[in-house]
């Protein structure tokens, strides 16, 4: 299958802190990849480097055969191809639900208001928030906000969806509704790269699980292998620690 994003020898340092070291990694079309690992291992930084919210210190990011770290590359156009869902939702406070889903389409993709609204409504329906188009972010629960944030990202009709711990800021009773939406997206065949601590979700939905520790990819493979029969000692340690907490 076609490779959408390929990362070669990616590194990132903050001052003297080496957060990512020589990461090689790729995502194929239609794949669902879950990244797991303890806090501070560099998962967010990896995702943020992929959509250039952080500038990589070294290495290459190839998107559909093009090196996007090349000076000449239009990073704004590239970013419209990646949908990002943040832990803290980050809905635009000055827009209501519909506004959040159409402003990017209209201002960046230059779609007409009618077309943008049609697209937004389609994805708001997917996440079950089409009744709430008039609500402002502050009037929504955490789970609802995150579903709107997913619809906002989908409305740009990206190639890949990136999720950075989408359920970590939610009250436990709202985690399920967001995971359910993400599961449906996976079934629709979306390409997704998901940082998560939800091991059950990773096991059920991921095509591939990537375990990161201290800025390197320690192990990757199908969920049955990485989550149930890990080869690496560090993976085993991490899993026994997380599973003990349950």
């Amino acid at each position: 299958m076609e490779t959408i994003i390929e990362i070669q020898h990616l590194s990132k340092t903050f001052g003297t802190n080496e957060v990512l070291r020589d990461i090689d990694f790729s995502v194929k079309k239609g794949e669902v990849v879950c990244i797991i690992g303890s806090s501070g291992s560099g998962k967010s930084t990896l995702l943020r480097c992929i959509n250039l919210l952080e500038k990589p210190s070294g290495g290459r990011i190839i998107y559909r055969g093009e090196d996007i770290l090349d000076e000449k590359h239009d990073i704004h156009a590239y970013r419209t191809k990646l949908g990002m869902v943040f832990q803290q939702f980050n809905l635009f406070n000055n827009y209501n639900v519909l506004g959040n889903c159409i402003v990017g389409q209209m201002k960046v993709l230059k779609r007409s208001r009618e077309e943008a609204t049609k697209v937004a409504m389609k994805y708001l329906k997917v996440v079950g928030m089409d009744q709430y188009i008039n609500a402002k972010p502050r009037q929504l629960s955490g789970g609802q906000k995150q579903r709107v944030a997913i619809a906002r990202a989908l409305s740009m009709e990206p190639d890949v969806m990136l999720f950075d711990e989408p359920t970590s800021a939610l009250d436990p009773e709202m985690v399920g509704e967001v995971l359910k939406v993400m599961k449906e997206l996976a079934e629709l065949g979306l390409t997704m790269l998901i940082v998560t601590h939800e091991m059950g979700f990773a096991r059920d939905v991921a095509d591939r699980v990537v375990f990161m520790d201290q800025g390197v990819i320690v192990e990757e493979g199908p969920p049955e292998q990485v989550l149930l029969n890990p080869v690496q000692e560090r993976t085993r340690e991490f899993l026994s620690r997380t599973l003990n907490q349950l």
Partner: protein
């Protein structure tokens, strides 16, 4: 006795009071609006992220330095003295015969601009980083992020501070009497000077100032409320059940 005096003075000089008040309001409205615009522009420029390299880096640094010099200078000197320097300075040093009203508006505007620039900058800095990141993540550039996401929130947040500047301007235009701008304080002084009665005219001026500032404060409060929108939202496809009778009547008529 006191009231009688007030009524006599008012009935004989109400036109002058009104003209003075109108001039005060005129200068402070225009000055606040221009100052607000200056503040927005300066505040936005001062928060442009400085690129790591390229010709824009030194350019932006120089501009930032000039703008911060402007802000510091006008905030650090009294408006009354600035008025003297600018009005008489332009005449004596540069040979420009400035219209005193244009000078008045100019002085109030750049003064307000200096204060507003800092208020705007503070407003931009206080917007959650996540708002910028979410905008960048859907492909907006810095300019689009500012126009469509950040500044609408900043403007809403700094509205109270802007109202405060407006009220200060209404009061502080009184210092413009040093360049003989016929605002409320200046006209009151003339009335007192021609009648040799002092505190009743100033008492009247006091009331007029208060009415102006109080009204302005209330109006701004209303605008803030309006901008915030309704407390509750209406579920789409559900409007009929929650429509108020008034709405139904309007729709049917």
């Amino acid at each position: 006795m006191f009231f009688q005096k007030i009524i006599t003075i008012l009935s004989e000089n109400w036109q002058m009071f009104l003209r003075g008040a109108a001039m005060t309001l005129y200068i402070s409205v225009i000055g606040t609006i221009f100052g607000f615009i200056i503040g927005l522009v300066v505040g936005v420029i001062r928060t442009i992220p400085i690129p790591e390299r390229g010709w824009r880096k030194p350019l932006l640094k120089v501009i930032n330095w000039l703008l911060s010099a402007y802000v510091e200078f006008f905030r650090g000197t009294p408006m009354m003295v600035q008025a003297m320097v600018i009005y008489y300075g332009s005449a004596e040093a540069l040979g420009i015969d400035m219209d005193r009203y244009a000078a008045a508006i100019f002085i109030v505007s750049i003064n307000t601009g200096a204060y507003m620039a800092e208020i705007v900058r503070g407003g931009i800095i206080s917007i959650d980083k996540g708002q910028f990141e979410a905008a960048h993540a859907i492909g907006m550039n810095h300019f689009q992020t500012m126009v469509y996401v950040v500044m609408p929130q900043v403007i809403r947040n700094i509205l109270p501070a802007t109202g405060n500047e407006f009220v200060i301007n209404i009061k502080d235009t009184s210092v413009l009497n040093v360049i003989s701008v016929s605002e409320l304080f200046f006209t009151t002084k003339s009335i007192a000077g021609s009648t040799f009665i002092f505190y009743p005219p100033f008492f009247i001026a006091c009331l007029i100032y208060f009415i102006m500032t109080f009204t302005v404060t209330r109006i701004l409060r209303l605008i803030e409320k309006k901008l915030d929108g309704p407390e509750n939202f209406i579920l789409a496809g559900n409007q009929m059940q929650v429509a108020r009778p008034e709405d139904m009547i309007r729709k049917n008529s």
